[in-house]
């Protein structure tokens, strides 16, 4: 079968790495989204870039009262976008250039999921999120918005 790609939509491999960092700078959730083939060194590189971007987030977070901080850091052709909640939990996404609206919606939906996780009385705030349900949902949101 022959698929005709439209002018505006060029199908290409997308890479994205998403982590949630708690207020104590401990990563509580990490995942690779996107459809690129997973390479071993790429995974570590992604984590390294995201953790290095934490300093930038720290400075920026105090200058604005918005939750969604757009692209705050670049590395080669990858961009880091961050969303900070009132409780200073940071959602960080490493991606190649993508539309801001999609990313913002993705962050907002993940924020709702995160609040639902927090509402669980058996979840200790600041500990790792190990629920597979959460994982599945985040991946689904990643496919939907990214």
């Amino acid at each position: 079968m022959h698929f005709q790609a439209e002018e505006s939509e060029v199908p290409m491999a997308t890479t994205a790495c998403f982590i949630i960092v708690s207020r104590n700078d401990i990563p509580i959730y990490e995942t690779e989204l996107g459809s690129a083939a997973k390479r071993e060194d790429a995974a570590q590189l992604h984590q390294f870039v995201l953790h290095a971007a934490l300093d930038v987030v720290q400075d920026l977070a105090w200058t604005t009262s918005a939750m969604f901080l757009k692209a705050i850091d670049r590395f080669n052709d990858l961009v880091v976008s961050v969303y900070v909640t009132a409780g200073h939990t940071r959602f960080m996404l490493l991606h190649d250039s993508r539309s801001d609206d999609g990313i913002k919606s993705f962050f907002q939906e993940v924020h709702e999921l995160y609040i639902k996780t927090l509402l669980n009385p058996l979840y200790l705030p600041g500990s790792r999120i190990t629920s597979s349900h959460f994982d599945t949902k985040v991946r689904g949101l990643g496919r939907k918005y990214l």
């Binding site: 720290q58 105090w62 009262s65 918005a66 009132a86 409780g87 609040i115 009385p121």
Partner: protein, 223 residues
């Protein structure tokens, strides 16, 4: 996510919680019961603050966070705002509610052991006991406020005071941390960790001095 709960259910739950902790679990140890109730409130406040701050921009200031507690947070919980907010601009805030919803249906009878429902009291001893009985019900909202504020980045200690029954005052004191200058210098980690209540005779506050090397992230920002 914005569902409502019947108020009578909440009242019954709170009354039952206080009486279980005070009369059954920690029967002769009101201090421990108070701490457990306050800890439950802490977790609830933590979760609620995360939930109610979702739609609005973040806070740039401690005062804004306290104002959020007084206005939006209180109206989500009790459908009214805090009536009066006073501050000494040095980290202490007094929140006054003239008709606190969870105390609205309570009255104290000092003559009977169970605290039954009639209005007059005169003897100071019985008044003290009655005040203590009622004050156990205030540990939960104190915990809620403390949990909400710690989630917003303001470690604090909250205590409450009942002047006349449906009105109560909540006192919020921020924990002040000074810098660790050198290992030889003492850090005053001044915290008034109070689990006992004021009654007519004000209790003095405890000042705890601890060596505390941790610096809060806000303090880092102002360096």
């Amino acid at each position: 996510m914005g569902r409502e709960v019947s108020e009578s259910c909440v009242d019954s739950l709170l009354t039952e919680m206080v009486s279980s902790y005070c009369d059954r679990f920690y029967a002769n140890k009101p201090e421990l019961a108070a701490r457990r109730i306050e800890a439950i409130g802490f977790q609830v406040g933590h979760q609620l603050s995360e939930r109610y701050t979702m739609e609005r921009p973040r806070f740039s200031d401690n005062l804004e966070a306290i104002k959020f507690i007084c206005k939006d947070f209180w109206s989500e919980l009790f459908k009214k705002q805090i009536d009066n907010l006073k501050t000494n601009h040095k980290g202490t805030f007094v929140l006054q509610d003239n008709r606190f919803r969870w105390l609205a249906r309570m009255s104290i009878d000092p003559s009977s052991e169970d605290g039954d429902l009639s209005q007059d009291n005169s003897a100071p001893v019985t008044e003290n006991k009655a005040a203590q009985a009622t004050s156990m019900h205030l540990y939960f909202p104190c915990g809620i406020i403390r949990g909400a504020l710690s989630n917003l980045g303001i470690p604090c200690a909250v205590s409450a005071d009942i002047s006349s029954l449906p009105a109560c005052e909540l006192l919020v004191m921020e924990c002040i941390r000074l810098y660790l200058l050198s290992y030889a210098h003492c850090i005053a980690f001044i915290s008034t960790a109070r689990y006992s209540f004021f009654s007519q005779s004000r209790s003095s506050c405890m000042i705890i001095v601890i060596f505390h090397p941790c610096i809060s992230e806000r303090a880092l920002r102002f360096r």
